[in-house]
């Protein structure tokens, strides 16, 4: 969170002084358990370390001078919460492209625009979590 970079399995292995295989297995278990989401084409990397996205998304979050990407509105605001409760999320309306901003200060939503829409029922969120 401090560096805004997400470690790969080998980087995690080096940091924790475990083998690469152990780290990859841990990543696999975290993915299977729906704790995190692995990159579909590379099981040594996370795609989502919720609420963070490891790739740029339409949900850019600014907190304490650092930028992060959320996986969706929920996760974008989750980053603000996790990082102390003050920050802003910027995105754009998927229909018209207009920029929409949500601002949180001291855990209070002080500026809001738009409505949040869920296409997928909760029971199916993990059918394809990247799409969800």
């Amino acid at each position: 969170m401090n560096t805004t970079a997400v470690p790969s399995a080998p980087e995690t292995a080096a940091s924790l002084r475990i083998s690469d295989e152990q780290a990859v297995e841990a990543y696999r278990q975290l993915g299977e358990g729906h704790v995190y989401v692995l990159e579909p084409t590379d099981p040594t990397r996370f795609r989502m370390a919720n609420p963070f996205s490891t790739v740029p998304t339409a949900y850019k979050v600014e907190v304490s001078g650092k930028s992060y990407y959320g996986n969706c509105v929920w996760d974008g605001l989750g980053i603000v919460s996790l990082m102390g409760g003050t920050g802003q999320l910027k995105t754009h309306c998927p229909d018209c492209g207009e920029t929409l901003t949500l601002v949180v200060s001291d855990r209070a939503l002080v500026h809001e625009e738009g409505v949040v829409h869920f296409s997928i029922p909760a029971a199916h969120w993990w059918d394809d979590i990247i799409y969800t």
Partner: protein, 82 residues
């Protein structure tokens, strides 16, 4: 889970009816859900605990059930025309 300008913009986009929540509900949900996520003692919520979080935010109905038959439920939540 997308942020649209309004319900009319959702309709124009061709998205399924789905469900809506206000930005305020989304913030409260996010704050409850993620505030303690970096705590070393964090534990994932059970299905029942997660559904309680939804219900306490007014997110009720089949759409917000984490276990359900594989059919698309009717839209719930706030008025999509808002």
């Amino acid at each position: 889970m997308l942020l649209f300008r309004s319900g009319e913009h959702v309709e124009r986009s061709g998205k399924p009816a789905g469900a809506f929540m206000t930005a305020g509900q989304a913030w409260r949900l996010a704050d409850i859900w993620y505030r303690d996520r970096a705590d070393p003692n964090w534990q994932r919520r059970t299905v029942e605990e997660a559904e309680d979080v939804f219900a306490n935010l007014g997110l009720v109905g089949d759409f917000w059930k984490l276990r359900r038959p594989p059919t698309m439920p009717a839209a719930t939540g706030m008025d999509p025309k808002r």
